[in-house]
Symmetry: C2
Subunit: 155 residues, 2 copies
DNA sequence: TATTGTTATACTCTATAACTATA
DNA sequence: TATAGTTATAGAGTATAACAATA
């Protein structure tokens, strides 16, 4: 966001205590946007949107969760998930099954088609990710993941 | 994306050469999503969407650019920018002025209202950013910005 | 009363592609 | 021919809020 790749200011400073929060934030938004667009292009070939791929990837890891649980994982509202699932169920990618123990809830499962779509899309997705991240060393990638992980708290 | 906060695997490894690209990628997508939602909530109080704030912030830095230049900065299409500007012009936030030297082009300017909106929203925005990023030291923020900057290259 | 899911509403953003005017 | 901008089309995703069924 706030376009234009941030660059180092001309003024060199020796101080460690400077605030770089805005730099980091802008760069984060910008890089994510680029990566997201790229992922969308890749997934488009598989007929999937990014949120749909996220649903598949989540169910690939933890099948049988409820819609509410999925909503929490995706960081969206339950109404949102409902529409998302409507479209994906129409595309035969996922299946809602009533929970026998709690008749309010649905348990979510991949269909055969959904599993195939995930298995087809994931390697390509991973390949693109690895290629994008390959400008960083493994250690740098780890550092990046750790720093981001520290930001991934609360709320 | 692909919900569930990634965590260190139980298996401890001494190798430096491991690939952490997916970890970093997932964490990047996830953190950005959280930050974006938070920014949207903040901006909603000012009646702005995130893309609209981006337009204001860009024009605040480099007024007089063309729609095409703005599209490139925002990493979106020109058709997209056109609609965005339609809404923002209707809200009196920005103004299109025909370029006298190139009668195909428009030059973009903030209105008084747009400038006021930017000046009102920016400090709050910055405050939220600083608060979010405050779990990292200044040096860590710098490292994060630098690592991300390395990822921010050609498409 | 609280929770799960659904529905209704509404809007922004996004892309693609065809089109106009100008360079 | 190429570029700047517009328009038309289309759809997904998102939120909010009110509603139903169940716990």
């Amino acid at each position: 966001m706030t376009g234009g790749k941030p660059r180092a200011s001309g003024r060199v400073s020796l101080a460690q205590a400077e605030d770089h929060s805005l730099d980091a934030f802008l760069q984060l938004m910008r890089v994510q946007q680029k990566l997201q667009r790229q992922m969308e292009r890749v997934l488009d070939g598989a007929g999937l949107t990014l949120p749909q791929f996220d649903v598949l990837a989540n169910l690939g890891m933890v099948e049988g969760i409820t819609q509410q649980e999925l909503a929490e994982r995706l960081l969206v509202t339950k109404g949102n998930v409902c529409g998302l699932l409507d479209r994906m169920e129409a595309a035969e990618l996922v299946q809602r099954r009533p929970d026998p123990k709690d008749r309010r809830a649905n348990r979510l499962y991949l269909t055969r088609v959904g599993r195939a779509a995930l298995q087809a899309a994931f390697p390509t997705h991973l390949g693109v990710v690895q290629e994008c991240m390959s400008v960083l060393s493994g250690a740098e990638q780890r550092t990046l993941a750790q720093l981001l992980g520290r930001l991934d708290v609360g709320d």
